[in-house]
């Protein structure tokens, strides 16, 4: 693609977000590239690794306790989209702190740690312990608090739909995170996402990430029952891009909060649409699953200015 005239940024150059400089603006999204430790050894022509030019890996969301996740099947493909019901399977905060984070630092992966919890204090606890454990780490750039995962029965869902709770969680995390970027990942499954963004900004985030998955359901025709054992899943992929673009625009124009755009980005053109609306960075989710080099390819294609 020839880049449009209005595009003047090199997304592989450092940029500042809150108290932190990130190495670039094309990130991978939480849950679609594991903890950022997978794929280092993978090959593709023209790339040293899938991390080349990538501004940050947002880790799979980590919860205070390890979680086994939901029963299978966890994924359904639909027209131009996918539903997932992974159920926040993750190694838990202790193991993440002990093994994963040091490994990320050692491998030089620019990292944003995604955290989820059910009470604001837990966010504070996790962030403060993270901060202590990572003293001197240069590749850890920030925290994204996941206030939106629609798959977890007891947690994220209704939780992140209330501006006061969003504010409380952000405040708790911000207190222990003076020197790294703090992002809040918002759910699109609300009447007023810009209200959530306003609350998050007032409580101290440097940017919001939008959007997490949209609540969706697919029916198995043979049985007449939902395909996913938990009925609902999180809808992602190209099909949600227009929704993500609308939510990002709503936040930027109404709440005037910096936004990291997520939702249906699979190539340079898709990413440009978010930047056109004013996103400061973008994340690649579902498309990263198809090809570990997707974010790297986008970064390369958009750097050609």
């Amino acid at each position: 693609m020839s880049l449009p005239g209005w595009w003047t940024i090199d997304p592989t150059e450092p940029f500042t977000l809150g108290p932190r400089q990130f190495p670039g603006r094309i990130w991978t999204a939480s849950g679609c590239f594991a903890y950022g430790l997978t794929g280092h050894e993978m090959k593709a022509e023209g790339f040293s690794s899938p991390y080349q030019g990538v501004g940050a890996v947002v880790t799979k969301t980590v919860t205070p306790q390890a979680r086994p996740g939901n029963p299978m099947p966890r994924l359904v493909e639909t027209n131009e989209g996918a539903l997932n019901s992974i159920g926040l399977e993750n190694v838990g905060f202790e193991e993440f702190l002990a093994k994963t984070l040091p490994a990320l630092e050692e491998m030089g992966v620019p990292t944003v740690v995604s955290l989820a919890a059910t009470r604001p204090e837990e966010f504070g606890d996790m962030v403060s312990r993270l901060h202590q454990a990572a003293v001197g780490f240069v590749h850890w750039h920030g925290v994204e608090i996941n206030l939106s995962c629609p798959n977890v029965a007891e947690g994220g869902h209704d939780f992140g739909r209330d501006p006061d709770t969003v504010a409380a969680c952000v405040r708790a995390a911000r207190e222990y995170l003076p020197d790294r970027a703090l992002l809040a990942k918002l759910t699109p499954n609300v009447t007023d996402i810009s209200g959530l963004a306003t609350a998050a900004a007032a409580a101290g985030v440097d940017a919001v990430s939008a959007i997490n998955t949209v609540v969706g359901l697919e029916v198995d025709l043979k049985s007449g029952r939902p395909v996913l054992p938990r009925r609902f899943g999180g809808y992602s992929g190209p099909a949600i891009r227009p929704i993500a673009l609308a939510k990002v625009d709503e936040i930027i124009t109404r709440a005037k909060v910096p936004v990291v755009g997520v939702g249906g980005i699979g190539n340079d053109r898709d990413a440009l649409k978010f930047f056109a609306l004013g996103a400061v960075a973008v994340q690649v989710g579902t498309a990263q699953m198809r090809d570990p080099f997707t974010a790297a390819r986008i970064a390369k294609d958009l750097a050609g200015v």
Binding site: G31, C32, F33, A34, T38, G39, E41, M42, K43, A44, E45, P50, K60, P68, G69, M72, P73, R74, L75, E77, T78, E80, G81, A82, N84, I86, E89, G237, P238, G266, T286, Q288, M289, R290, D291, P292, F293
Partner: protein
């Protein structure tokens, strides 16, 4: 711990994939039926390709028509710059694959996953394949035939005579068929389940150190697993789980496995695409 010995803990806790996977495009050079139910897809790449039997690749259409998720297929053959797959049309993705003409571009990620283990030099091996479970075992046999010192008995179960890719199989395979329909002249088939055919083979009962490698529908895998455990054979199964990424990042493909490290009776989710698709049957915590 080497792949040659049956593991004492879950093998799922050890090593990384055998070789770096590549993300690249290939070009379809052939896409033709090899039996009533199977097609062979041959893809050519820019540089030489290789794999270990049991490994798979994630395939997708190129460009705008790409499917949201790539689809996993066992690698059947690799020679120089060409790799081939055997597949059956079952849904949207395989239908799209089937529509590809020579010259069409194809998106490839692989080789992925852990291959079948290497048996001890003269350990006898039984291969049990069902339907589209054939490719990884046929690949294994191709590699080992003439090299492996131990006996190799290969069994393939298909629907009927027309469903068997006779020309590809050569004469090393014992064929079992649901129905003897469409059996070509000069070919033999045993009517019944492939695992029953294996069970009926008295001569196989003579040794305990036999290794079973199986791939096929879940009922076949369970039967193979039961048979092996009854005879004291080790048994490795290649599983088919729904996959989102194929390289371990989405957790969309988990398989419950016993994990003694978590305490007695503890079961954990193993990631089929990177810890498998080949599992030791003893590790699997089947839910039936």
């Amino acid at each position: 711990m080497s792949l040659m010995q049956p593991p004492d803990g879950p093998r799922t806790m050890i090593d990384l994939p055998v070789m770096p996977a590549a993300s690249c495009e290939g070009v379809v050079v052939a896409n033709v039926p090899v039996s009533s139910g199977l097609l062979q897809l041959v893809v050519e790449f820019d540089s030489p390709v290789t794999f270990q039997p049991g490994q798979f690749a994630m395939l997708n259409l190129a460009g705008d028509s790409a499917l949201v998720f790539s689809r996993p297929f066992s690698i059947y053959e690799a020679k120089d710059r060409r790799m081939s797959f055997l597949y059956r049309v079952v849904g949207r993705g395989t239908r799209a694959l089937n529509a590809l003409e020579p010259g069409a571009a194809l998106v490839f990620l692989g080789p992925l996953g852990r291959p079948f283990p290497q048996p001890d030099p003269d350990q006898p091996v039984v291969l049990i394949a069902g339907g589209v479970g054939l490719p990884p075992l046929a690949a294994w046999l191709d590699r080992q035939a003439g090299r492996h010192a131990g006996e190799i008995d290969a069994f393939f179960g298909a629907r009927d005579g027309g469903d068997v890719p006779w020309d590809l199989l050569g004469d090393r395979w014992n064929i079992s068929l649901d129905s003897l329909k469409d059996l070509p002249a000069g070919r033999q088939g045993w009517q019944g389940l492939v695992t029953d055919l294996v069970a009926s083979r008295q001569d196989l009962g003579n040794r305990k150190d036999r290794m079973v490698l199986a791939c096929g529908p879940t009922p076949l895998l369970k039967a193979a697993s039961r048979l092996a455990s009854a005879r004291g054979w080790t048994c490795w199964l290649s599983l088919e789980e729904h996959m989102g990424c194929g390289y371990g990042v989405c957790k969309g493909c988990v398989v419950p496995v016993h994990d003694a490290s978590g305490g007695p009776g503890h079961v954990r989710n193993a990631t089929c695409c990177t810890e498998g698709p080949v599992f030791n049957a003893a590790d699997l915590a089947w839910q039936d």
